[in-house]
Amino acid sequence: MKLSVVTANRLRDGAILWLGAGPAWREHFAEAQPFDADALVIALEFGAREVALQRVIGVYAVDVEHNTGTLSPLSARERVRAHGPSVRPDLGYGQTHNTLVEA
């Protein structure tokens, strides 16, 4: 089954966000919630409302797969967004700002 997560950037600081349970935006990719095709439609609608409320920008879906028990984005681009620059993994949001935040 095709799985996706929903991502955006927070307006006020540009931080990468992943839509987690709640629904609530999380900075840590590990807390992103996977959606099947039907659930994704609803998640993206939530994202669009968040854009209208000027909390986040650039909401879109990211295809993911289960990889040895954890979720991983399919594309290199989204893996870099999820885990930080491959050349400075210490700087990724999941590493240095592993906090649960409200958008």
């Binding site: 600081d13 540009g14 967004r81 620059p85």
Partner: protein, 567 residues
């Protein structure tokens, strides 16, 4: 405007060789910061949509990149005072993640900026007379020049002065803020092109006429990206006083006729190609003739007035040679090796320019930590009249170092790991941020640069290979100028995977040339092996003193291709 009178001149000596702002400049800049602050507040309060706000933030150098907002700060023609460097280090430390990235446009980028803090950052930068205006958008961008400006032994004119004149002319120019596409001008102060001028929308080469008077040769329509083009000469000789009039004429022709219907055909290079260089030159000449000589004339007194606003280092009268330097060269081979690659002759006896490498083995090309930037600022104060330059090769230059002091300077580079003796060698790699940071990237550039750097880490081997320019871009936008690297590497997307195309034979100097493709795209892990095989062919076939690029021109692509494909 209220609140301007408290603004003080930046700390630092007026001798520093940057253009010194006056009260008017500072008032203008303060107004721009406050205008942006208000725009950010409206955005955060929901008064502006992203579509409305995006062009406004871009006008202030603020992009949304892969991880966060990215702020691109202009370093006019690459020259920066130690005070300004310290402010950049402060911004990196306080508002970013403790480092900055020096770019091929002689700017600095901060990768982890918060929108809500951007106005405060710009206000802090304005305290030292720097800003991010016109570092983005379809306007005339930061004018770039030779990193040895005002210092080089072969200099005919000081290009800083003319770059500053162009900066003032192009900043907030009412006609040229909404051009068909971005517009880049490069200028070099000698007949040796150290500013890659033929790769710019306008390239200006300083030369002398038969009477020995200085003037300019003008090229247009250069550029890389999707359609790489070497600029064509449209004026062999332009007298200095006509510089602005001629620039205005080129821009007017482009602004009127450049294509706005197709993003990929909007650069001046396409207009020049579609019009034909000769006809384009005629159109420029016609516009030039129409423009009032009075209004656009650049009289010597204006040039002198701008020149006077630059600090002038108080050079001492020194002998051309230095016993201390000679002794260190004889007794310390590591120093002698560094001098061999990392220095450049100075126009003043007893002085030399030193290039600080931001390319340690396995490092990230062009990145510098705030501690390193602070360290460079301190060295600039101690050894180079408080100023430094950012080279388009992503290194930093201390332009005016006493020969007597060079050994001491070199010793002080070591603790900050900025003493790599590799300028112009295979590990002095120009690399863009690529997919590790850039929203537009297809593939990562930095890890490939690191792998090649580590593969060729052995200094004796690098020095044996000699001059070789290797450039890596993460997409066809070619920010790292891969088309004109002796070896160029382009990251592409091959069925969803990162892959790399290698080209050979490019050059960015006065013999500018575009590289030719070596073969099909390959995965990252193969790239260092292929480079190794290409280098082996060069080493096997080179003649005495022949550089890689010379051998390539003599031998052609065939032997390199054969070696690269031999798995």
């Amino acid at each position: 405007m209220d609140g301007i009178s408290h603004i003080q001149p930046p700390a630092g000596s007026q001798d520093v060789g940057i253009y010194h702002y006056d009260g008017l400049d500072r008032a203008w800049l303060a107004r721009r910061v406050e205008e942006f602050r208000e725009q950010v507040q409206r955005r955060m309060a929901g008064g502006l949509t992203e579509d409305e706000f995006k062009p406004l933030r871009l006008m202030n150098g603020l992009y949304l990149q892969l991880h966060a907002y990215m702020l691109r700060v202009a370093i006019p023609y690459g020259i920066v005072s130690s005070t300004q460097l310290r402010k950049m280090a402060h911004v990196a430390r306080k508002y970013d993640r403790d480092y900055g990235h020096f770019t091929t446009r002689q700017n600095i980028q901060f990768n982890w900026i918060k929108l809500e803090q951007a106005p405060d950052i710009l206000a802090e930068l304005a305290e030292v007379d720097i800003h991010a205006i016109q570092t983005s958008g379809n306007c005339i961008r930061n004018v770039t020049t030779d990193q040895f400006a005002g210092a080089a032994a072969d200099e005919i004119i000081d290009p800083r002065v003319y770059a500053e004149i162009l900066r003032q002319w192009s900043t907030d120019h009412p006609e040229f803020l909404f051009l068909p596409r971005k517009f880049k001008i490069a200028l070099t102060g000698s007949e040796k092109d150290r500013a890659a001028i033929k790769l710019h929308d306008i390239g200006i080469l300083t030369t002398r006429n038969e009477h020995g008077e200085p003037g300019f040769t003008v090229y247009v329509g250069g550029g890389l990206g999707r359609t790489p083009v070497i600029g064509v000469k449209i004026r062999q000789w332009l007298q200095v006083s006509d510089l602005l009039r001629y620039m205005e004429a080129i821009l007017r022709v482009y602004n009127a006729a450049g294509r706005r219907d197709n993003l990929y055909k909007a650069r001046i290079k396409i207009l020049v190609r579609e019009t034909g260089a000769e006809k384009f030159a005629e159109q420029v000449e016609a516009e030039f003739a129409r423009l009032s000589g009075d209004r656009f004339n650049l009289p010597p007194e204006v040039v002198s007035a701008i020149q006077a606003r630059f600090g002038a280092p108080r050079f001492a009268n020194l002998p051309a040679t230095s016993t201390a330097f000679d002794r260190a060269m004889l007794t310390n081979p590591a120093f002698a090796q560094w001098v061999g690659t990392n220095t450049h002759p100075h126009r003043m006896p007893g002085y030399i320019s030193a290039v600080i490498s931001l390319k340690p083995v396995g490092g990230i090309p062009g990145d510098a930590s705030s501690a390193q930037i602070d360290h460079i600022a301190a060295l600039a104060d101690r050894y180079s009249f408080g100023e430094a330059r950012v080279a388009h090769e992503q290194n930093v230059v201390l332009a005016h170092v006493r020969l007597d002091d060079l050994f001491a300077l070199w010793q002080e580079l070591q603790p900050a790991a900025i003493d790599t003796p590799n300028i112009g060698l295979i590990t002095d790699i120009i690399a863009c941020p690529g997919l590790d940071y850039c929203e537009l990237a297809n593939a990562r550039s930095i890890p490939v640069a690191q792998a090649i750097s580590e593969r060729f880490a052995d200094l004796a081997r690098q020095h044996d290979i000699g001059e070789l320019h290797l450039n890596i871009s993460g997409c066809i936008n070619a920010c790292a100028h891969h088309h004109v690297g002796h070896i160029g590497i382009l990251g592409v997307d091959k069925h969803g995977e990162e892959a790399y195309l290698i080209s050979l034979g490019g050059a960015a100097d006065e013999n500018a040339a575009l590289g030719q493709l070596l073969g099909a795209a390959m995965p990252a892990h193969v790239v260092p092996d292929v480079i190794e095989r290409v280098i082996a062919i060069y080493l096997a076939h080179r003649t005495q003193g022949e550089r890689f690029i010379d051998s390539f021109r003599r031998l052609g692509m065939a032997p390199f291709k054969e070696a690269a494909n031999a798995r």
